[in-house]
Amino acid sequence: MVNPHQDATQEQGTSGIWALLAEIPDPEMPYISIVDLGIVREVRWQPDALNVVLTPTYSGCPARREIEQSVRDALHRNGIQTLCIETRLHPAWTTEWVTALGREKMRAAGIAPPLAVLAEWQTLTFWPSSSDAPRPQCPHCGAAQTRLQNPCSGSRCKALYHCDACRNPFEYFKSF
């Protein structure tokens, strides 16, 4: 059976789909979308379905099922009935995939965006104290004198820091 809506969408190629997906908020950080986070890897029309490839952030991310459901809901609402969501583990998700827009949105929400991923993660590297490790700038005042308070914060992907300059706490999206 041909779905007239689907045909209409199909004509737009996938840019319309990407635009729809870019409206879907991350369940734990609603100010940033799943496209900004780099979770959506690929959108592809197949003869009888739309294929969407998602790469999960952390293996135990509790938001994973909810993200899949919001993708389904958003696309169904826009007339796409036959949808295939593929979970792809490799290549593994990295914060290098967070878009420039995503980083801007984080900063605007008072969260320090992820620093570059260091090659050290692949070897056993010992930082005797957290002050030896690279530190994010304060998203409030821009100062570099910040201190790690807790490696985990409101969600798995963020750490809690304290700014010694403006004396405010802030969250840092950990590089991964």
Binding site: S59, G60, L89, W121, P128, N150
Partner: protein, 256 residues
């Protein structure tokens, strides 16, 4: 699949070990939820437990898919008895006091990072995909436990004493981490698994570097207690499984 039947068994055994290590340690760490010394540490331990649970699911899903007949992750987690679990004995050692938990975690994390690095080069693409993902998470776990080792060891007289005593209790279970059996040899031969024995020097060097920063000493051990990977466990596992499996066994098919 063009692998032979015996290789299939070795592969599912191998994956089961990886899954069980992560699952049991995750369940142990969940025991700290609401009880850790500070709120921040409570959140940290629960998040590490969450990562390990996510990894356990990936390994167990794959292990179950390579079994005949096929089993799913929940079936493997909830419907096996103590003697069918194949994790290393280190992870079933009791949470004890906070130093006991952090020392156990530190010895495990440092080994886990090295093991996952090796597995990320596996010729089996699904293993390498899971290992690369898990390796990134394990990096954060190791940073966290390493820093605790230094703080406890170089903290008060009491925290130092507890950390050193925890090391002395855990060290008997280190040998098993690097012991190679028939399954390991088969996996190495096929380019799928890791040569555990070869990881020891690097592990030892890292561990001693961190211990030195915390004024702790790696204890001399005459014992190497083994058997976990072949289903020989302590009574501690029975209580842990009763708690973990109770709901699924008492209310089959329960959903929420």
């Amino acid at each position: 699949m063009n692998l032979s039947a015996s290789c299939d068994t070795s592969l599912s055994d191998y994956l089961l070990r990886l899954g069980d290590n992560a699952l049991i340690l995750s369940q142990q760490l969940c025991g700290w939820c609401g009880h850790a010394p500070t709120l921040e540490e409570d959140v940290a331990l629960s998040n590490i437990a969450l990562d390990l649970l996510g990894q356990a699911r990936l390994w167990l899903e794959y292990a179950g898919a390579s079994m005949v007949p096929v089993r799913d992750e929940d079936d493997l987690a909830y419907h096996r008895d103590a003697h069918q679990f194949t994790h290393v004995l280190l992870v079933e050692q009791p949470n004890g006091n906070f130093a006991d938990t952090q020392v156990r975690q530190f010895l495990f994390d440092s080994w886990h990072c090295l093991l996952l690095t090796e597995l990320s080069r596996s010729t089996e693409p699904r293993i390498s995909a899971i290992a690369i993902k898990a390796r990134k998470e394990a990096t954060y776990h190791l940073q966290h436990s390493s820093q605790w080792i230094v703080r406890l060891g170089d903290g008060t007289e009491r925290s130092h004493r507890y950390a050193q005593r925890a090391l002395e209790q855990c060290v008997d279970y280190v040998g098993e981490l690097f012991a190679m059996d028939a399954v390991d040899h088969e996996m190495v031969r096929l380019g799928i698994g890791a040569d555990l024995a070869a990881l020891r020097p690097q592990w030892q060097a890292y561990v001693e570097q961190v211990l030195a920063a915390g004024n702790l000493v790696y204890p001399a051990s005459a014992l190497s207690v083994q058997g976990g990977r072949h289903g020989q466990h302590s009574e501690l596992l029975v209580g842990l499984l009763m708690e973990m499996q109770h709901l699924a066994r008492s209310y089959p098919g329960a959903q929420w």
